[in-house]
Symmetry: C2
Subunit: 549 residues, 2 copies
């Protein structure tokens, strides 16, 4: 058993603040029927019984009716995010408020535990041990994808055995997509089990008009901003290093953008902009090298660069190169038997001219990495590429050229960092503690009013929590058809950074100044007990998206 820290003990008694609509008995107010964001005909045909459902909004009810006890199952799906334990404790308190004899079962280590019938009952004692803590360790998480009918049927056996009437799936876009498919399947087959999703991911790419943010993003970006701020203070004290800081978030650059807004670094790459402007790796390298040269001209041979983990896949030229490499290597099984030099030779001779030129321009180690380590689907594992080192190496070469041409006078000493695991299981900020608890408590209300195929939704989040709006959003409403592994599938649209969105515009408006001047901000660690302006600040992304200023 783990030993509780002083902070954990003190924080255990924090009572998350619920939206006022959820303070007592509620009634669900139905909106108009909904449509999916695109491909309405296809989505409707794939979700015949759960398509077009109305948005639900909870309001206070003057009459409170007695409800029967309800057994609920819960699954944590995919990567960790701060606040998962509060979703579960909110759900627990919610179903106990409905009827004290309700029971909550947790499936172990993700969807796999559901399929394999591995579970525990989550009692008050267990729940109390995990309130307001980070991590998913209460029941563990896993990456098994819940997408096959056999899995649904196998899972149903244990639901029946435990008399579970509703399943809450806490996950990202893919897991919520699968929650919608499962909801449809159980409803179409009269299984008698409702399915509710909860929006989780530190990446921040599960959001839309009705889901203002996924949980965990707030806390994780605050932890990253804490350490980035500390590094910047070090950088500004020693004045001799350039820090290249890679940040988790493969598909979207929300994390990098949020951290940039919090810490005001000298440079931050936004993958979505790289893609939109069709930038090459050389363009990015030149752009950063120019900033370094300008700072050096002012005597400042130090700085910070934030790099989104997924960058490589957003550079159109790299994407093409990787695609050609994937096909080439899949078709040439003798490749693995060649020696190192022969492999490089082979690749250079067999790539198209454009791609061969890009391949040749990469540092040899990185180029080699692109030809190794295929995943089971034959794809390059881009997450293994140390983009932060790739960039600093190429920038070092570019600066040497500039120095030879008299365009740069200075010293360039790079240091590298990657932050991801440091923030996914942090103790939730007040925002995430409240938001997650509300999402879980709200999920219990959705269950109680019979909803299925809905995502728990708490919005108006830039306002104090009492003013938050609670309800449910039909998951099909967020879906469109996308090609995945060669097949068209119904999926929740991933929210990438919008280049016309206020967070990006705020960044774009300031970045030239941040590049040349030293405008670092040092947010410091998350505070749980101090003044509200310190403890209750939302993410800058949420703030700019929902405030006119």
């Amino acid at each position: 058993m783990t030993k509780k820290s002083a902070l954990q003990k003190a924080r255990a008694s924090y009572q998350p603040k619920l939206p006022s609509a959820l303070w007592g008995a509620v009634k669900a107010v139905e909106g108009a029927p909904t449509e999916s964001v695109a491909n309405q005909t296809e989505i409707k045909s794939l979700f015949p019984t759960t398509y077009g459902l109305p948005v639900l909004t909870f309001e206070k009810n003057t009459v409170s009716k007695v409800s029967a006890p309800i057994n609920v199952g819960v699954i944590l799906s995919g990567g960790q995010a701060p606040g998962g334990h509060n979703v579960i404790s909110g759900l627990f308190d919610g179903i106990k408020a409905i009827n004290k004899d309700s029971r909550l079962y947790g499936f172990l280590m993700g969807p796999g535990g559901f399929v394999d019938h591995k579970y525990i009952e989550l009692t008050a004692k267990i729940i109390d041990d995990y309130r307001n803590t980070g991590g998913f360790d209460i029941i563990g998480s896993g990456r098994t994808k819940l997408e096959k009918v056999e899995q649904f049927d196998k899972g149903l056996e244990i639901l029946k055995e435990l008399n579970i009437k509703a399943l809450v799936i806490i996950g990202g876009d893919d897991s919520n997509t699968n929650a919608a498919i499962l909801a449809e399947y159980y409803k179409a087959n009269n299984a008698g089990v409702q399915v509710i999703g909860c929006p989780k991911t530190i990446d921040g790419d599960l959001k839309n008009e009705m889901i203002e943010t996924s949980f965990g993003f707030d806390t994780a970006t605050k932890v990253y901003s804490e350490v980035i701020g500390n590094i910047q203070r070090d950088c500004n004290s020693a004045k001799k290093y350039w820090h290249f800081i890679k940040l988790m978030g493969r598909s979207a650059s929300h994390i990098a953008l949020e951290c940039a807004l919090q810490t005001q670094p000298n440079y931050c790459i936004i993958s979505e902009e790289v893609e939109q402007k069709n930038m090459t790796l050389a363009d990015i390298v030149n752009d950063i090298a120019n900033v370094i040269a300008k700072r050096a001209a002012n005597g400042n041979n130090f700085g910070t660069v934030l790099i989104p983990e997924g960058l490589i896949e957003f550079i159109p030229a790299m994407k093409k190169l990787i695609a050609e490499l994937n096909d080439m290597l899949a078709a040439n099984t003798q490749f693995a038997s060649l020696d190192r030099a022969a492999q490089r030779e082979f690749v250079l001779n067999n790539l198209s001219a454009d791609n061969a030129a890009i391949f040749a321009s990469l540092p040899e180690g990185v180029a080699r990495q692109l030809t190794l380590d295929r995943d089971p689907h034959g794809n390059v594992q881009v997450s293994l590429i140390e983009t932060e080192k790739l960039l600093s190496e190429m920038i070092g070469k570019r600066l040497a050229e500039m120095k030879a041409a008299g365009e740069y006078v200075g010293k360039f000493s790079p240091l590298h960092h990657f932050f991801g695991y440091e923030g996914r299981c942090a103790d939730p900020s007040n925002f995430d503690a409240d938001y997650c608890y509300a999402l879980g408590y709200n999920a219990a209300q959705l269950i109680n009013c019979g909803a299925t195929g809905y995502m728990s939704s708490v919005r108006n989040l830039s306002k104090p929590s009492v003013q938050w709006i609670a309800g449910g959003i039909p998951i099909t409403m967020m879906m469109n058809m996308e090609r995945r592994n060669g097949e068209m599938k119904p999926v929740i649209q991933k929210a990438l950074v919008r280049l016309d969105g206020k967070p990006f515009l705020k960044f774009a408006e300031n970045r030239e100044k941040w590049a040349i001047d030293t405008c670092y901000t040092y947010p410091g660690p998350i505070q749980y007990f101090g003044p509200a302006e310190v403890c209750d600040q939302t993410s800058r992304t949420l703030y700019y998206e929902h405030n006119s200023k």
Copy 2:
């Protein structure tokens, strides 16, 4: 200009707590004459005017005399440590309390600014902007060594020009050694300038009976423990990775030990133990591999390993190998012109048999690293060796052997982290904020009573700050003679981890349990506003060293 964060604004008004002896007028009580820790004859002859001085202890004075204004200079020397700004603000408030017309000058970018006459006056406005903040950015720091008579004379010019009567040097063991030499030089030459040192280093290796801890250690280890705790929570949620976490601290393992006591990882290497037990790299690898195998046998294919940055230099066999490589490569200038394979061949053929065997056993990349990148003195730059990757690679191989022999059944997926720059400039914990402010304020009192060649000393630190004992310790008292770059020099004895000390014994007593069970503790981020048991906890090292429990 940097933009203040909400926390910085709220934290600016924190009033550090002083020891009660420093609340008003003080009198210095002299102890008996002191002796150096060793080599008394040599040290005495090198410090004729500053050897044997008494320990000074400040007590409340019933009479308060009016003192003349005094101009003081301050230097930040070496690596950053949380709290440096509070030493300076304490010093500022201290000399202003002595006489409001006193002035404080800060030399820029370390000792170099002193020699080159680069400085600013630190006014109340500047000081107020930096109270309770991390970083050394108020005047910057640098690594120039202040050790030559010409530097002392050059510095004296600016001291005379600014009418500075005392210089405060904030630094680690080397910087304080140099402060003692400077104090002796100025005193012996009747320069009329006192020199006072302040014990700074996150490494925690500047301590002794009278200096209970260096400042910054408390905060830095709390930041590292925060992120280690977060990683452990992630590790215990996903249950699929082994995290290899390298921690700054080249000469001693205090940081790793403190973080282990705070977070209870599955394994923590203590360099001093490796050296004392004459362990080889293979011994360490086998030991960790055995822990991994035991955990795997219980179904736990995850864990955490803490690694002190300086490990390699503490492994006796590696030390010998590196020494022979240094000599061999210095004597063979044609080595650089050989190609990669020929270089390896050359090294293997020319090393002694024992060392050749060790060289051959290393992963090729690391072996190669040992033959590259000499520093200007011809030494291997061990800090460039990615020990965390070296270990995980060797452990992976060892586990494969064990698997083949039927001694291990499991999956081994390693991840790597290095924490250093993340903690050196964090906002100081309450402990460091108070301790540093007291060290600075106390330095002003030492100056006022005419002391030179003293280190500012605040002790009894495991008690509440009002009970702290303030005074001065003759720096010569901490010195002995050691060989440095081939010459015997007077230096402050470095405090390594004592294997018979309570912090290590506490660790040793628990580590077998921590290895096999999962006993992680999650300290969470430093709190500045909450309950005392959360905000005012000292480091575990300090606690165990000064409490019988």
